[in-house]
Symmetry: D2
Subunit: 135 residues, 4 copies
């Protein structure tokens, strides 16, 4: 079991399931994003405030291995670890576990960066500080 | 320019954009899926009929490199190539291009397999035939 | 303040917001649906089990008055009251309140019915019992 | 058959269907919105440009009667008529028809208004002009 920096609990909602009766593959990206945004709040960063300040945090790569399908009503947990990739890039390692057994549902790696209002790469100070603390 | 087996044109709808004014990262997976499902119709396979026959085509891995952000009203094209990975696994190589300039928006690789009603791996004959024709 | 039979707490997720920075009008229908499905579980009814039994609960009319826009991170509560409309139709009166002030966000009335696998109108016994207890 | 000011063709995408195998009730609001936004482009109004100018067009009431459920692959058409309700409010009368038979799928009435960056009610000139031309 990895040591996550942050975990967030969720429950599948019926509208998230497709005609196969499982959560649609795209919806897991929503879960992962929501977990990241709640996590960065604990670093002092609010995604919507960044948008208003003209700074966009953007996903530049995602890799997802789907291991098990979530279904109606399932409770699950998303864990996240933030890693430095380069001066301007960071990676979120994220896993989803079905509760209460903690069956592995999905493993993801999401690489992101920041972009200023003028389109230049720029990381918010809080991310840089958080990444610095990881060294 | 790759030689795609199938391409499908789309236009961004405003509800697909998030507070950054761009298409949300998860929505691209919807575009990719819709293109795959339209493509497999040309192979004689209807995703919803498969579900009714008890066969689920499932995504087991996705890899997406986001290169450029689509915005309100953008017209774009999704191309797809089907490849064999193993007897029971196939891969869709998919790219998205902004029109009319054909700017590369995204490159994706989506690996899938089939699962029967009893949970056993099983590919529909049409997929096996299509993959056989690729050899 | 109405006397709701059931209330459910939520928090806005960033992917639910559109380019105006507010929750998109269609997403509120997702919130309302999720609250209804959690509510009917307290009556002994699981929406996904009903689907497997061949019984579809369907929305035949929705009326929504949007009073206040939810934004990133907002916490809110959905309340629901179930009413009989006719032998085969029921109505959910649903309201959404921003927390903690309980500002009214939205008022909705959603009329539904049940349809059997053969397409005939049919209410599950649990709904009929619940409606009977309302008389 | 009503005389619509604008119609737009669509096709159901599989990810829009829920576990009942039908388009989820909330997704129809997406279809209706996309049709409205394409329609107002013909009046010279681009929704995303308005957002950038600080003007939000917002939905304040929606009424939807669901008559028939769309399924995987269905082709359909959305028609729209714009009506004046009051100096600052307008109504879109919108209907959806399954093609090619033109079976009525849904009837909707969506009331909207405009809000300036400072939160004051304000209609863009193009809407006022369009409404004026209706008298």
């Amino acid at each position: 079991m990895k040591q996550y920096q942050f975990t967030l609990g969720f429950q599948v909602r019926d509208y998230e399931c497709d005609m196969q009766g499982h959560v649609n593959n795209s919806v897991y990206l929503n879960y992962l994003e929501h977990c990241r945004h709640e996590f960065i709040k604990t670093l002092g960063l609010d995604f919507s405030e960044l948008v208003q300040r003209g700074i966009s945090l953007v996903v530049i790569r995602s890799e997802v291995d789907y291991k098990y399908s979530l279904q109606s009503g399932d409770k699950f947990e998303v864990g996240v670890i933030l890693e430095r990739v380069s001066p301007l890039r960071y990676r979120f390692v994220q896993d989803i576990y079905l509760l209460p057994e903690r069956t592995l549902v999905l493993k993801a790696r999401v690489v992101g960066t920041g972009v200023s209002a003028t389109g230049r790469p720029q990381l918010p100070k809080e991310i840089t500080v958080a990444l610095g603390q990881l060294d």
